[in-house]
């Protein structure tokens, strides 16, 4: 059985749920069974939140991620709260400026925010992260499907800058 479990985490307002929705959308278009869930507090912004995607060649019953294949974090608080139960050989993707304790698994650090700023808007960090993820998942998920999902899911008028950030992220890894 093929199954990938991805957990995004960050601070409320960073757009990690949107990134997860786009990933799940692309996975469904690729023909997988995909589920996307999230966990966040009552606050509109701030606070640690997570968004998860499972895609598989079999229907997914329990929709939450149990053992992530890939864990991504954009804030130290979210990293501390949600970086657990990683699969053996699981991958951690982190914004490089985060002050986090050493993690045993393979940790990949990227200048996510600095790269996002190159587009003129740091708020595109979620798309940079998605670009990095796309390169890690390239054997399973065509990049074009993610780009198509971005096209359909980001607010109108922001497609270009979001795709730019995504491609910057893709080129990082």
């Amino acid at each position: 059985m093929f199954k990938k479990e991805i957990r995004f985490s960050g601070s409320g307002g960073q757009g990690i749920i949107l990134a997860a929705v786009i990933l799940a959308d692309a996975a469904v278009q690729a023909g997988f069974y995909a589920v996307q869930t999230q966990s966040y507090g009552p606050e509109a912004r701030g606070g640690a939140s997570k968004a998860e995607v499972i895609f598989s060649d079999q229907p997914v019953d329990y929709p939450k991620v149990s053992t992530p294949d890939i864990f991504l974090a954009l804030s130290a608080e979210a990293y501390a709260k949600y970086c657990h139960d990683l699969k053996h050989n699981g991958i951690i993707v982190l914004e490089e400026t985060l002050l986090t304790p050493h993690c045993a698994a393979d940790t990949l650090k990227f200048p996510v925010f600095a790269t996002a700023r190159k587009t003129g808007k740091e708020i595109t960090a979620n798309m940079v992260l998605l670009g990095i993820l796309s390169s890690l998942l390239i054997d399973f998920l065509p990049k074009a499907l993610l780009e198509q999902a971005i096209n359909e899911r980001v607010p109108s008028g922001t497609t270009e800058i979001n795709l730019l950030a995504f491609n910057y992220g893709y080129a990082l890894s």
């Binding site: 469904v28 995909a34 999230q38």
Partner: protein, 378 residues
């Protein structure tokens, strides 16, 4: 042709199901985790000539729905625990006045404000008994995005057929879950239209039951004038103090639902045929329960899942039949045993039962249910 699946959210699926069923009026007061229903309908309804109204609170929201339905609209409101509490009096009013509408309650952790984004299934008994007086309640609970769509359509159909409010009881996980779904095409599912009276206005009695025990109150504005009240009333709709008429009305309101219940007592069985242990669950908990059944089967434990889709009226006959030969019946739910008590009520008192409860604001995990299955298998 294989139908294309689309990524869809549970709350969105509720909207699409409602529109499929002919929804043309929504009044609500947005509240997490149901907000996307109001948000999506605020865009969709005006575009098709329907009405979306954001009301001042939940009492007004359901009142507006009842009024719109009385004028012939297919009406729905959506809320969560705190708002559902406020709606209870008017849910009773809709039962008493036999006005169809659909009330969506996306459950969050309570009591009170509780956890706006935290999943729970604590409103099972409130959905059944939240409004006062003797009454029956139809409550449906989905476990997946596509099922949210189809159950919303069915909720409208049952409401129209029985002239009664129907509750679609979701939980936060299912409402916010996005997954691939292929919703039915137009014409694929039955859609029940509002019945219209055959008599002329002169000989018309709005609350006179037909053979199916259901009356045909005319839509306001179609030339039929009558009185609508939450008081005990006669077949003409006027208040009555006649004990015989009162008794007949209260009993009929209950019996009209019992009479038709076999048509909408939905449930799903998974590996129950040869199962020594039966697990009962519903909503998002049932997804964890199914995963637990698969894990238990993998280590040789004979267990099956009975997933309840209709919670009320409680499918007593099905539960007792399916559990008849089980050595243990386990109920897993995200509350402190609300359906468990009902399961115990319908089973032979000698039968062994276990209750798995979960109220920490997270989705119950398969491991927790698996532990109970292993305990039961000892």
């Amino acid at each position: 042709m294989i139908k294309q699946r689309k990524l869809m959210q549970g709350n969105e699926a509720c909207v699409f199901g409602a529109l499929y069923a002919g929804l043309n009026f929504f009044a609500g007061y947005p509240i997490t985790p149901s907000t996307e229903i109001a948000e999506t309908l605020a865009r969709k309804l005006p575009a098709i000539g329907g009405n979306f109204i954001q009301m001042e609170d939940e009492i007004a929201s359901i009142a507006a729905c009842i009024g719109a339905s009385l004028a012939g609209a297919k009406a729905m409101t959506a809320t969560s625990g705190p708002g559902f509490s406020l709606m209870q009096e008017n849910i009773g009013y809709a039962i008493m006045t036999e006005i169809p509408c659909v009330v969506v309650n996306v459950q969050r952790l309570g009591p009170s404000t509780g956890g706006p984004t935290a999943p729970a299934q604590g409103d099972v008994m409130q959905a059944r008994w939240g409004t006062h007086g003797d009454h029956e309640m139809v409550v449906l609970t989905p476990a997946g995005v596509e099922e949210v769509f189809t159950l919303t359509v069915k909720a409208f159909n049952i409401a129209e057929t029985l002239r009664t409010p129907v509750i679609l009881l979701m939980d936060e996980v299912i409402a916010h879950l996005r997954e691939g779904a292929s919703p039915p095409e137009a014409g694929e599912l039955l859609v029940v239209a509002r019945k219209e009276p055959k008599e002329s206005p002169a000989e018309y009695l709005p609350f006179k039951p037909q053979d199916d025990l259901v009356p045909v109150p005319a839509s306001f504005g179609t030339g039929y004038r009558y009185h609508v009240t939450g008081l005990y009333h006669d077949e003409a709709g006027f208040p009555t103090g006649n004990p015989e008429k009162i008794d007949r009305l209260v009993r009929r309101l209950k019996h009209k639902i019992i009479l038709h219940q076999e048509k909408f007592l939905f449930y799903e069985e998974y590996l129950t045929n040869d199962a020594d242990i039966i697990l009962i669950s519903y909503g998002a908990s049932a997804r964890s329960a199914k995963a637990a059944v698969n894990d238990a089967r993998a280590v040789g434990i004979s267990v099956g899942l009975l997933r309840l889709i209709t919670l009320w009226p409680f499918p007593s006959t099905a539960v007792s039949r399916i559990c008849a030969n089980a050595s243990v019946v386990i109920t897993a739910e995200m509350n402190l045993g609300q359906i468990y008590a009902e399961v115990c009520r319908v089973l032979d008192s000698a039968q062994r039962t276990l209750s798995v409860t979960h109220v920490d604001g997270t989705l119950i995990a398969p491991q927790k249910i698996l532990a109970a299955i292993k305990e039961a298998a000892k």
